[in-house]
């Protein structure tokens, strides 16, 4: 596949061309922070961002979506989002999260709503130019990414190295003015990768992430869960900003004719009171500490079982910044367990 070196001025024209041809969502400033939003002009694109407020997850699994419309006692109609779009500026850790969701949503009953949006997306990933305050992707092995995207961009100073990874990416990249990346440009890209593998590490995990399932196997009754949960609001902020949290709730709502209606899926979160409430009112994970523990077990033990051992925390650090009482940091919890329980 093609690897191009694109001068920054030419890159701007390339992005403007993308915006003209297809709905393009890119990273932009939001106050003094950053977030993904529909892009109207290349000049709003900020590939020098540290981390976005929300992960790009919402473009595949929206906070609220209509799954189907129905008529009581009659037929139903699945609602699929058919709009094609380009997602521009996905950091490697977020790309890893999307790769994991791709696996999860295609397992068992394939989720046609997720998969349709995913198929309609062209992802242009980009290597991290500036580490955020809480990133620990280096610890999680997600500081660089090798699959999932259609194009990968790396800022090497005066230009970008852009590598196409799929026919879709190849086709798009053909529109960009640039030259074949020379050895010097590729060397600079290697340097960025080498740097990020070390520097995206504001919180350092004291073990290989692959060890986490074994660590958690002996930590179920550890006091840390009660200790941390004492000051947990159960506000689910950690869930809401997480690129790998995908739990949802489904509710039916009827229209005023009381005959037709829609089935709506909304994000849910395992920290929330009521998350485990089942009909009629039984709640099987009632205690705050049990819910607090569950999130760390999902990331470090349960989900990995479903996706070949990959750890479902990608080290974006968003939960660390979003948690008001500062108890959400997975690294500080896992490290505490390592200190107390040892490795091996």
């Amino acid at each position: 596949m093609t690897v191009k070196k694109i001068a920054k001025s030419d890159f701007t024209s390339f992005v403007d061309a993308l915006i003209r041809t297809e709905k393009t969502i890119g990273v932009q400033a939001k106050g003094d922070r950053f977030d993904f939003a529909p892009l109207e002009s290349a000049k709003d694109l900020r590939l020098d961002y540290d981390v976005t407020l929300q992960p790009p997850k919402k473009y595949f699994l929206p906070p609220s979506e209509v799954l189907l419309t129905f008529e009581v006692g009659g037929p139903y109609q699945s609602q699929l989002d058919g709009q094609k779009f380009i997602l521009l500026g996905v950091h490697p850790y977020d790309m890893v999260a999307i790769n994991q969701m791709d696996e999860l949503f295609q397992q068992d009953n394939c989720d046609v709503h997720y998969v349709t949006r995913r198929q309609n997306a062209t992802i242009i990933a980009c290597d991290v130019a500036k580490p955020s305050d809480h990133v620990f992707a280096s610890s999680m092995g997600t500081a660089v990414v090798k699959k999932g995207y259609d194009i990968l961009l790396t800022d090497i100073g005066d230009s970008f190295v852009a590598e196409a990874a799929t026919p879709k990416g190849e086709q798009l990249l053909a529109k960009a003015k640039g030259v074949k990346a020379d050895a010097q440009a590729l060397k600079k890209r290697e340097d960025v990768w080498a740097r990020n593998k070390k520097s995206l590490n504001k919180h350092e995990l004291k073990c290989d992430p692959a060890y986490l399932p074994k660590l958690l196997a002996k930590a179920y009754k550890h006091p840390v869960w009660e200790e941390k949960a004492k000051t947990c609001f159960s506000c689910g902020s950690c869930n809401q900003v997480c690129p790998t949290c995908y739990c949802f709730n489904v509710q039916d709502d009827v229209n005023w004719d009381l005959k037709t209606g829609q089935r709506v899926r909304e994000w849910d979160g395992c920290l929330l009171d009521g998350f485990t409430k089942v009909a009629p009112a039984h709640e099987f994970r009632k205690a705050r500490a049990d819910r607090f523990r569950h999130r760390l077990y999902r990331k470090g033990a349960y989900v990995p079982q479903k996706i070949g051992g990959q750890i479902a925390c990608v080290g974006c650090g968003r939960c660390v910044g979003a948690c008001l009482p500062d108890i959400a940091n997975p690294v500080s919890i896992y490290n505490r367990l390592i200190d107390d329980l040892g490795i091996g």
């Binding site: 004492k230 000051t231 005023w256």
Partner: protein, 251 residues
């Protein structure tokens, strides 16, 4: 099957929640298609003593209002508390923070304080006087949530309103946390369902929807300390909608 009869009654309030229903405009016609509205002072002149669903707006501050409310409860199969004043007592409960209510009355009404219709006691939420079947929180209510609740009831379904706090909707909207911008936001302890309207527009959560079922007081104290504030900084923010949310007893 006959359409269910709905009656809307107001007590101590600004009637802004009823206004939210009036503001539904086209949807009101749909509401009227599914139900017969038989009494609604703000929008029609007819009155009726027969209704299935009573919607109560406002809080209860006078003995005669308690009696009136009990009569309504006796007639209604389902009773809905509408808006912060009805659900939690709302802003009206501010006065319950004072020991001398006569003093409060003079301060508010001046020379008119002695008039008989102003003879009021401590504020009560509707649920402190009669049994409430469903609540529509908020100041004012969210029109969409109100119509969802009414439609659910017309279908014979139990409406689900969020148990979780405002942070959930605020984060889903992609907002940065206002605490990081020096605002003492009540989002972590207040019931969601408003779509985090205030924080999404740059204002802290004022708490109009009332506390979640299990607010974590220890967490609030911890956060206050972490941000170098003292507990009064939080309490002064909670007083507007959070005053005396426990049941109020007349002396």
């Amino acid at each position: 099957m006959a359409k269910p009869k709905i009656a809307i009654f107001d007590f101590a309030c600004c009637e802004g929640c009823q206004l939210q229903i009036v503001n539904l405009e086209e949807e009101i016609l749909s509401l009227l298609g599914g139900a017969d509205v038989v009494e609604w002072r703000e929008a029609m002149s007819e009155k009726s003593d027969e209704y299935d669903i009573a919607i109560i707006e406002g809080s209860i501050t006078r003995m005669e209002d308690e009696e009136r409310l009990k009569v309504i409860r006796g007639k209604a199969k389902v009773l809905i508390a509408l808006g912060a004043c009805a659900v939690i007592g709302g802003i009206n409960k501010l006065k319950n923070n004072f020991d001398d209510l006569e003093e409060v009355k003079k301060c508010v009404y001046g020379k008119a304080a002695g008039k008989p219709h102003l003879h009021t006691g401590p504020t009560k939420a509707v649920g402190e006087v009669v049994q409430v079947d469903f609540s529509v929180p908020g100041c004012p209510i969210d029109g969409k949530e109100f119509t969802y609740i009414v439609r659910s009831l017309l279908m014979g379904k139990t409406p689900e309103i969020p148990e979780y706090p405002v942070c959930v909707e605020c984060k889903a909207n992609g907002n940065p946390c206002l605490w990081q911008y020096d605002q003492v936001c009540l989002g972590p302890i207040i019931r969601a369902g408003c779509g985090a309207r205030c924080p999404s527009n740059g204002f802290r959560c004022f708490g109009c929807r009332g506390y979640v079922d299990k607010p974590n007081v220890d967490a609030a104290k911890d956060v206050i300390n972490r941000f170098g504030l003292n507990i009064d900084d939080l309490k002064t923010k909670m007083v507007l909608f959070g005053s005396r949310q426990e049941p109020t007893i007349y002396e």
